[in-house]
Homo-oligomer: 201 residues x 2
């Protein structure tokens, strides 16, 4: 079975969106800066924003995942990816308030999960089979860290201080969580850090 | 003339001390974890905590600085290093409340600067000559970033989530500050990231 891997771009000062993020501007003021690395090196394919070089290898790895686990807010802000994040893999969205039954249910590969992040994580892992699950969203990451169901993290550290905005790591308890550095990739305009979450400590 | 280089160990979630830091426990709960890398690899010299391998090279570089610029809180918590941080280089401490004139003044290489961080930075640079100035302290780092007098940063990213504590980057404005990645060192138990602060953007 694969791992649940959080995939997020974060400023050195810990933000994944600038201030004043909202439905019409999901990344907030200057937040788009965090995703500029996707266009570094000229990008082999502007339609999919695949970067070149080592960042491209990281990008390919992330996109080889077999399911997506995403927070409701991130999911909605991204326009629900029109139902297809990549390759039509199943998308799981933990939420307390799924769309009403009589609303258009959208593509069949979207599953709203109302019985908690542990259940959502288990369903996503089962759906992904031997492949990993890509996780998106700061609130969801925090919930999964608290619940102990996050296996790995691929954090793209961006060389910028946003100063204010939405933090990736926030609202956690003071029980510290040990990580293991499993890969460091120094690429143009971004440092890709891969960690395994050590839940035994 | 050298550069002013902030040198800090920071958890992946942005903390430089755990919660409940105080005069008797300057690093707070679990905060000592952030400095474990100094003992990685067996340390060539347990008295000075010099680590081995590539972390040792980073350590040597930091210790080759010609002056220290440190926040008052950090300075006091560190026991004022008994007046000698390393090699007897001059130490500059910006503060609104220097010790009273009739208090023991301590070693002559400590200068309390009361007319602002710009002045303290200029004095430290002048004292360091061609060498760099090592800067310590989160509050001071924030003040110097706001004042535009920080040149570089050597951030030791520690693979741990402390969850709560004292953040390195906090209380900054939403005017984002561009950085340039100048070196990435992947060492056991720590990732050393060096940045140049780009003040022209």
């Amino acid at each position: 079975m694969g791992s649940i891997v959080l995939d997020m771009s974060m400023s050195l000062d810990g933000f994944i969106a600038g201030p004043d993020d909202n439905a019409s501007d999901g990344l907030g003021v200057n937040g788009h800066r965090l995703h500029a690395w996707l266009a570094e090196g000229g990008g082999d394919d502007p339609l999919t924003f695949r970067p070149s070089g080592r960042s491209g290898e990281i990008f390919d790895e992330v996109m080889a995942t077999g399911a997506v686990l995403v927070g409701r807010r991130t999911f909605d802000l991204a326009g629900r990816w029109n139902g297809d994040h990549h390759d039509g893999v199943p998308i799981f969205v933990p939420t307390h308030h799924p769309p009403p039954d009589d609303a258009p249910s959208g593509p069949a590969n979207i599953t709203y999960v109302t019985d908690g992040v542990e259940s959502a994580a288990a369903q996503a892992k089962a759906a992904a089979g031997d492949r990993n699950v890509m996780m998106h969203g700061a609130d969801l990451a925090q919930s999964c860290l608290r619940a102990g169901v996050l296996d790995e993290m691929e954090i793209h550290i961006i060389p910028v201080l946003l100063g204010q905005g939405r933090r990736l790591f926030d609202h956690l308890s003071a029980d510290h969580i040990e990580l293991e550095i499993t890969r460091v990739v120094d690429a143009p305009g971004v440092t890709h850090l891969h960690y395994r979450v050590n839940r035994t400590l």
